[in-house]
């Protein structure tokens, strides 16, 4: 019998709420009609469920606990994550609660040796980073899940076994009232770094683990510094190691430091030892203020990924699929991109609107992304936690040189998680037409936002679950071939949301589902799009084909490819 903790966790800033276990129909001989079961109601599992629901696909979401995340864990959401949350229709509470930021400073021996302002375009709605505790991330997603009639979130439900054949997957689910079998067409493993599904299926990750251990401690303190990334290399009190400081909502500060080699986690988390180090950090910040500890844990850095995220009818996503270094905020932010990539494909396959091959592209694209992140994150990790004497000597040399020289400072760049480009995706087509554009947004890239006015951005208009066809029309509205293509889009095998962008909003008439007025041509310029041009955009906002001059026949071909069909 699975008996999850029924008392709310304790926290000095967050009121945990117990979500009661509800007896599911399976315990009384009934059966769920959901084609998809998602294991793990963390941020990625919930986003995937919400996205599936937008496509009209039901899911059962299994969570072994009765409450949200223990501790603040993932605290930085990138701009791309916020755009994904906006697309899923759930960004508002994140924007209201989170602290947005764009810069960081690094110190060595009391001197500022590096500062960076992350790129921010006036066309972007969100700043590069937004700090928010994982409890709030999960709470807001739980609220969104509760609003959907298509998601059955089952708290206190732990998977203990998994079997599958060509037709279905069967999960054994243990609960406070006994266990039952749950049958699904597809299972999404979103059950985190210690994934039960990954272990039950005996799947091995590839890559490397780094030796150093780091402490994360959240304290409540009146520090009064702005929201930015602060990094201190080798402070006197922690020779050879480094410290990171991030501000969170509710007066909470994240302190993150590497432990001396050989020191155990238990030893590091002893209150008096941890307290002494927190005092040192506050001294270093020049803010020796009173503080209270909320939560602390120990982690180490990994660059590990499963080689394939699709195993029969089981799909892996987020930390269940890969363990990535914390440097560059790559955990939840990579996971959100996984979920966004997976959900539309799984929805179309589950509904029978696309061949199973579409799911292969999920694994292909996201394993490739994880490998790039392992490579990139590995560089940051080798700087932040040098794995050998050679890397430590190089790091020390760069820090020492950076006190008087500029040239090595880019090595202190922390390489933040970015939106991935699926330039080599099998879902892309019309490469020559893509290459014919002079700029704009290339095949495989995520769409780029455009500011249209005060609190008004292009992405605010691009709602709806489906492919997007962005058609660029002149002052007279879409003419000729573009008009034919827009008309043909209605009969496509999947939903294509027709977006007409042009100087005259009212000239677009009944050919468009969404009309975006572009009186100054800002959107057309950002997309390098002449009149008659068009972009075909996947439901996860990545461009899969574009033409300077679209015809209906080309649109049909590109859609076939984008659904995992034959190449054009």
């Amino acid at each position: 019998m699975h008996l999850p903790e029924a008392q709310p966790r304790s926290s000095i800033f967050y009121d945990y709420r117990i979500h009661p276990f509800r007896r599911p129909p399976e315990l009384d001989g009934g059966r769920s009609a959901a084609p998809v079961v998602i294991v793990g109601a963390g941020p990625i599992g919930m986003l995937t469920a919400i996205e599936l629901a937008r496509f009209g696909v039901r899911s059962v979401l299994l969570e072994q606990e009765l409450q949200v995340s223990h501790g603040s864990r993932a605290i930085v959401l990138t701009r791309r994550s916020m755009e994904i949350l906006q697309h899923a229709g759930v960004a508002a509470p994140f924007e209201a609660k989170g602290l947005q930021w764009s810069s960081g400073r690094s110190f060595f021996r009391g001197h500022q040796v590096y500062s960076m302002v992350m790129p921010h375009d006036d066309d972007d709605r969100f700043l590069p980073g937004l700090n928010i505790q994982q409890q709030y991330i999960e709470e807001y997603l739980v609220d969104a899940v509760a609003r959907s009639s298509l998601i059955d979130l089952r708290w206190g439900s732990k998977v203990t076994a998994i079997t599958q054949d060509a037709a279905a997957v069967t999960l054994r689910v243990d609960t406070p009232e006994g266990d039952y079998d749950l049958v699904a067409d597809w299972v999404v493993a979103a059950d985190g770094g210690r994934s039960t599904i990954r272990k039950l299926m005996n799947l091995k990750m590839e890559g490397r683990s780094y030796a150093g251990n780091f402490v994360i401690a959240d304290i409540k303190a009146d520090i009064g510094l702005p929201t930015e990334r602060l990094c201190f290399f080798e402070p006197d009190w922690n020779p050879g190691n480094n410290v990171l400081v991030h501000r969170q909502p509710d007066g909470i500060w994240r302190i993150d430091f590497r432990l001396p080699d050989g020191e155990s986690s238990e030893d590091a988390l002893r209150p008096e030892k941890l307290g002494e180090r927190i005092d040192h950090v506050l001294g270093m910040l020049g803010r020796k203020v009173p503080w209270q500890l909320d939560w602390a844990t120990v982690y180490s850095a990994n660059t590990l990924t499963l080689p394939d995220y699709l195993s029969g009818r089981v799909l892996f996503t987020g930390d269940a699929a890969h363990l990535l270094p914390i440097f560059g905020v790559r955990g939840a932010n990579t996971g959100f991109q996984d979920g966004s990539n997976l959900a539309w494909k799984l929805a179309l396959v589950a509904k029978g609107d696309a061949p199973k091959a579409l799911l292969d592209s999920y694994s292909l694209e996201r394993v490739q992304a994880a490998r790039e992140i392992c490579d990139e994150g590995g560089k940051s990790t080798r700087f932040m936690t040098p794995p050998t004497a050679g890397y430590r000597l190089m790091r020390d040399a760069v820090l020492s040189l950076s006190l008087s020289e500029e040239f090595p400072k880019d090595l202190l760049h922390w390489r933040t998680s970015r939106a991935h480009t699926y330039a080599h995706s099998p879902l892309n087509s019309f490469a020559a037409e893509d290459a014919a554009f002079d700029g704009g947004v290339g095949c495989g890239d995520p769409l780029r936002n455009v500011r249209l006015g005060a609190d008004d951005y292009l992405f605010d208009h691009l709602t709806g679950a489906g492919f997007l066809l962005l058609g660029f029309a002149g002052a007279a509205g879409p003419g000729g071939d573009l008009r034919d293509a827009l008309q043909a889009a209605v009969g496509a095998p999947v939903r294509v949301v027709r977006v007409v962008i042009g100087p005259q909003a009212d000239a677009a008439d009944a050919l468009a589902d969404i009309v975006v007025a572009d009186p100054d041509g800002r959107i057309a310029r950002k997309y390098a799009a002449p009149d008659g041009a068009a972009y075909l955009v996947r439901p996860d906002q990545h461009v899969c084909a574009r033409w300077r001059h679209l015809t209906a026949a080309h649109l049909a071909q590109a859609l076939t490819v984008a659904l995992g069909g034959a190449a054009s």
């Binding site: 040098p386 050679g390 040239f407 090595p408």
Partner: protein, 62 residues
């Protein structure tokens, strides 16, 4: 202040190459290997004034 000549990507490659070469050299031989490296690079730079500036930067803030 020395000019930045290598691109960041090139500097990253150099960083990894040096780190791995240090690791591949027996511990007692590392100063010798690094000194040979400095001499070889000085020869390639071929400008005594630049070499002097590099030596000064290297000797600072140890």
């Amino acid at each position: 202040m020395m000019p930045k000549i290598l691109s960041t990507a090139e500097l990253e490659q150099v960083y990894d190459l040096f780190a791995e070469t240090i690791d591949a050299t027996p511990e007692g031989m590392r100063p010798l290997m690094l000194t040979k490296l400095a001499l070889a690079l000085a020869n390639l730079v071929g400008d005594p004034a630049k070499i002097q500036a590099a030596v000064a930067a290297a000797a600072r803030d140890l």
